[in-house]
């Protein structure tokens, strides 16, 4: 290893930024791991349980660029986007456990969460529905003459939905400030990419709408960060939408119940060597003087934080059945 001090000067990304990347990626990884592999198996989390294991670089490298006035529409694999916006592990766990203090007060579950104050729109189940929504959020920004942008997240499967095409086309025609982060993780549930589309790159679909795009290594947080920066600059400058296809891999089943036997072993092995957290750690060791002990310490910090949050969440009340009919309409 080269001497840390020299390497630090030469590094393109400073240590502070990389530590933030590392923290959020690790927090997402470990929090989802706790939810899926402990709380769900213990029956403390019920219902669907989707994780973004292996895809953490995508929400982290992009959402970290968001400003308070921006809006985000994360997908079910982008928990870190919520964390970066200030949503806490406590709130996330209470949501997963269906508690009254969760972000939807127990009315919705799992990753179907967001928060108006922190400008995160909760997804609905219907895959692809957030693409037109992003258009409206961005339309309101332009309406008020703001330089804010929308970060929209979706997957490869979503790109087959009519909503996806309607939303992208409208955004292009209306020149709306949106940065689309598309996680092409090779599968939509069990459906492999070659059964989803006849082409290899989703970016080719986008070209048909006149939206500039680029394809990046979705497991390289630094590459995502740089591409997102270009996209955000483009959108903030009033040049319209920008599309980033992130080639990645879902390191888990579709959801907690799915062993994903349909994924060829060779594919799984190949991608396990490209774990985005390990990739970043390698960069930090080689360029920023970080060492193994730093990562061990960080992981401990994260795990402690999660344990505290789990303890808190388990104490939270379930919603009162008397509130069942509340909030369907505005108060009279």
């Amino acid at each position: 290893m080269s001497t840390p001090a020299v390497a630090h000067l030469q590094a393109k990304f400073d240590r502070d930024l990389c530590e933030r990347f590392h923290y959020y990626m690790l927090l997402m990884r470990e929090l989802e791991d706790r939810i899926e592999n402990k709380l769900y198996r213990q029956g403390k989390v019920v219902g669907g349980c989707y994780t973004g294991r292996g895809q953490e670089a995508i929400p982290v490298g992009s959402a970290i660029l968001s400003r308070p006035g921006d809006w985000l529409t994360p997908s079910h694999r982008d928990m870190a986007a919520l964390l970066i916006r200030g949503i806490t592990p406590e709130e996330i766990l209470a949501q997963y456990m269906g508690r009254a203090t969760g972000l939807t007060k127990g009315r919705d579950g799992n990753m179907h969460m967001g928060c108006a104050e922190r400008h995160c729109v909760p997804i609905i189940s219907s895959i692809g529905a957030s693409i037109p929504i992003a258009g409206g959020l961005a339309f309101a920004m332009r309406y008020r003459g703001e330089s804010n942008v929308v970060f929209n997240y979706s997957g490869d499967g979503a790109s087959s939905r009519g909503d996806w095409h309607e939303g992208l086309n409208m955004a292009a025609v209306m020149n709306l400030p949106i940065v689309y982060l598309c996680n092409n993780n090779l599968f939509a549930y069990s459906t492999p990419l070659d059964k989803q589309m006849k082409i290899a790159d989703i970016a080719d679909r986008v070209a048909g709408y006149g939206i500039p795009s680029e394809i990046v290594n979705g497991n390289d947080v630094l590459a995502i960060y740089e591409a997102s920066k270009r996209g955000v600059e483009h959108a903030r400058a009033g040049k319209g939408p920008y599309f980033i296809e992130c080639k990645t891999f879902r390191m888990s089943g579709h959801s907690a119940h799915d062993p994903a036997d349909y994924v060829p072993n060779q594919v799984r092995e190949e991608w396990s060597r490209k774990d985005p957290i390990l990739m970043l750690q390698k960069y930090m060791v080689e360029n920023l003087g970080a060492d193994e002990q730093d990562f061990v310490d960080m992981r401990k910090r994260v795990l402690d934080k999660i344990s505290d949050a789990v303890e808190w969440a388990l104490e939270q009340p379930f919603p009162d059945p008397a509130t069942l009919e509340d909030d369907v309409y505005a108060p009279a």
Binding site: L103, S130, I133, G136, F139, M170
Partner: protein, 324 residues
Amino acid sequence: MAETTYVEAIRQGIWEEMERDDTVFVMGEDVAVYGGAFKITKGMLERFGELRVVDTPLAESGIVGAGTGAAINGLRPILEMQFADFMACGFDQITNFAAKCRYRWGQAIPMVIRAPAGGNIHGGPFHSQNVEMPYVHTPGLKVVQPSTAYDAKGLIKAAVRDDDPVIFLEHKYLYRSVKEELPTQDYTVPIGEAGVRREGSDISIITYGWMVHVALEAAENAAEEGISVEVLDLRTLVPLDRQAILDTAKKTNKVVLLHEDTLTGGLGGELAGIISEYAFDYLDGPLVRIAAPDTPVPFSETLERAFLPSVEDVVAKVRWLHRF
């Protein structure tokens, strides 16, 4: 003073709301340069500019989604569906996204979806439907359908000011067939309030939309035979004015439930449920539903006439019920 048509009343209502509140904007297919398929947004582009009068691609799901997003981000969209029939293409965005935001995350969606609905215009299966029931059956949505120019203006203004998504069903046949003098000052018609259109003592007809006018004509004919008919115009389908429904049922003790929508799963069944549950003791005869038959809306004039409930149909049922 000049009389104002139903179509012009809606246009005025939108116009005045856009003058009053600059977060209100209209969006839809052909609404800006062309002024809308039914000319509801005529002249708005010139007055309010292209930021607030927005032509879109042909994409109902895209339009509803964009409206919802804009509502989340502080605007008050008025969306035009060119025909109510095509709302089906935006169904997921309406029922799964917009309708559920408040319940799931406390997010208001102050959005109006305007949709020209209804038949008697030879529009055939895809330009004549009464599409209210899927939306009536979706908690989180409000659904209105005015029958007069006064209500059309008052309800569109109330819908724009409402903090929940409102499905605003406009009856195409009424656009230019009804008119009246309107007040010059600002007014709204509250969402959730039915209105008695004609007082009567023997039989109540509960209805909405174009059928209000059919019911009024039937009531006039029945009066000549000595039958006194009350006509209640629901005006709002969600939330239903239960009080007004039960009041008229308890007053006349005989009720006809009339709608242009098809019979099975139509609002008549729901109204019958409410009345039999809460006013059963007051009834002196069966609850009678009059509705279109369970078929698509046919195109040909003879078929469409047979399909739509007529004044004669209503008078016949009123006579029959009167004998109880």
